[in-house]
Symmetry: C2
Subunit: 366 residues, 2 copies
């Protein structure tokens, strides 16, 4: 589970280039790259590990007339990764595509082609692409509360301490790549919040002070950087992670399930991006009843989503509590948002709901 | 142009409630609320003012059998605004909708209804809704570089100074409401950047240090908070604002035009949210030629967008330079992204493109 160091990553690149390509050519064999098959049929869920794990199925990329272009692109991109690690630089997925425009016949025609090769390299090396210096385009994830983030000055390499209690109504915005960050905190837990509006409310009232916690705004489905940040922080400081999201299938599966155990089509990186310690604090279907929340009718697609999850999702199939909750929601035929608590007063969420829920772990979902 | 103080806003609420409602009822007249008509037919563009301005057309909301519910909702929402200003709290648009669930028959059925009433109140009072304590759901806008943001501790009211040179590879995330912020800086300009990836590159290389500037990541079309932040900062410190975006119609009109002069359907708030001082630094159609950038074919919809703008957009009709640029782009039939500069090396943008462009204001667009 521990992260590879940059020197290890470089060694891995060199070893693949040497053994699978260079030495095979010297022995007059065809060079051959091996990467795991990335589909739901090639994952398992083991709650001890805590994430969707890759099984053994692999695909091979042998140098032939038809694979020669992709093969060349794969090697050039590995070589580029080696250079950016050496120069401590970064490359966005979009930039990678443009850089290839100088590779003569090996140039990518469209970005999806270069993205696919990047995914292959990531899977082949069993590292996450941020460790190779490749970063996504999108940013996301804000932090406030009892946390000091330790970063480095990009020029001098000197440590910079960022105190997340000192942003007023603003907050600390998580960088696109978080591999180099360290943490210092005496908070008791991380509260990961679905909406920016709810985050702003808790911030405005300095909720993190009274609750002694760290607030993270996910702004919908968390980005890779946001998930990795929560994971690294939770690992480093042994902090529990509570997720406060809407009470609907989208929040349960697209947001919470992805944060906790990862997803099927990115199984080769779940190990780095999932947060196995996460618990779902609310809004649960039972909360809709207990707190008399205004609700909205479930759409047919929500009901289908829930039924599908009970049948096919290894995570839901593992937890009786989730099956019960989804059945309850389907029977109630309604969903509710975290903002619905405002019906009982703007700050009911701070004075009543969150303190109640935090005290009673029996009301959470696993 | 100057911002109303909170006490002025409260006075305005009271004066409308007294004169248009209470006193009219006492005189046995029907109460009557007046608000400007918010359509493109009711705006003009005057480059001296620098934004789309409302003309005189108004609509009236008189209390009748058919308007009674909306009328009651408008008054209740004004009353709620008065309360949150008094308690220095905030309310998201979504929360406002849920709060109405306690208004018995005056409850809103759907959020679009409560949003429309909020827009009406905003326009009627000629303030932006953040001044009424109403905040959007979405967040956005990150800042790094030579700037100290002065905020207040929500508990103690004590000043908090946030030094945006001290966040390493991270950044300062703009709060949803920025009306209360003050600024301290000796930077020479603000660079507003379209993509999070480009922002991260400039940040990673401490570009703000050598260029003596403030970097703002807009992450696509800037949010209200991001626009208002740039505007207030630029006003307060007399800073020029340079926009560094893709070279395509979306960046020109949806991002740049909206940032600089506002939009038609929100004309009542352009005064607060536009940044009349903004200049378009690049990527211009001429840059695509001068810097030999990899490009993509324009789509039919892009060409239509450009032609429509030349015919109907008061901003484009005002500036010959923009007409020329759009004509040039339509003839070239291509667009290019800011990341396309990576073809010439990852940091070509820092060592060559930005320094060149900043020196030569003749290459900008107005």
């Amino acid at each position: 589970m521990k992260q590879s160091k940059q020197t290890d990553v470089v060694k891995k690149i060199e070893s693949i280039a040497t053994e699978d390509v260079y030495l095979r050519i010297k022995k007059k064999k065809l060079p051959e790259l091996h990467m795991p098959l990335r589909t739901l049929t090639n994952v398992k869920y083991d709650p001890k590990e805590g994430f969707f794990e890759l099984l053994e199925k692999k695909k091979e990329r042998t140098l032939t007339a038809s694979t020669i272009k992709t093969f060349a692109q794969t090697l050039r991109m590995m070589s580029h990764a080696k250079t950016i690690i050496a120069t401590d630089d970064i490359t966005t997925k979009r930039e990678m595509y443009y850089i290839s425009k100088n590779w003569a016949e090996a140039a990518f025609n469209e970005q999806p082609e270069s993205d696919a090769v990047m995914d292959d390299i990531e899977a082949m090396m069993l590292v996450n692409r941020e460790q190779l210096g490749f970063i996504p385009e999108e940013k996301g994830g804000e932090v406030a509360g009892k946390l000091i983030v330790v970063d480095k000055d990009p020029d001098t390499g000197k440590e910079i301490k960022i105190d997340c209690t000192k942003f007023g109504t603003g907050s600390y915005s998580i960088p696109i790549s978080v591999e180099h960050l360290k943490f210092d905190t005496n908070a008791k837990f991380i509260l990961a919040i679905e909406t920016a509006g709810m985050f702003q409310r808790l911030l405005k009232h300095n909720y993190w002070k009274s609750a002694n916690c760290i607030l993270v705004s996910m702004g919908g489905v968390p980005t890779r950087a946001c998930r990795r940040f929560i994971r690294r922080l939770s690992d480093a400081k042994k902090l529990p992670v509570y997720v406060f999201a809407d009470g609907d299938p989208y929040a349960y599966f697209n947001i919470y399930r992805t944060l906790k155990v990862g997803s099927g089509n990115a199984a080769h990186i779940n190990e780095y991006f999932c947060v196995p310690e996460a618990k779902f604090l609310g809004v649960t279907p039972q909360d809709i009843i207990d707190y008399k929340l205004p609700s909205h009718p479930l759409k047919d697609i929500d009901i289908k989503r829930g039924k599908d999850a009970m049948k096919n999702d290894p995570f839901v199939k593992h937890y009786k509590e989730w099956q019960k909750a989804i059945n309850q929601m389907i029977q109630m035929k309604v969903r509710a948002e975290q903002q619905a608590l405002a019906k009982w007063g703007l700050n009911y969420v701070i004075t009543k709901y969150l303190p109640d829920k935090l005290k009673k772990s029996s009301t959470w979902l696993p």
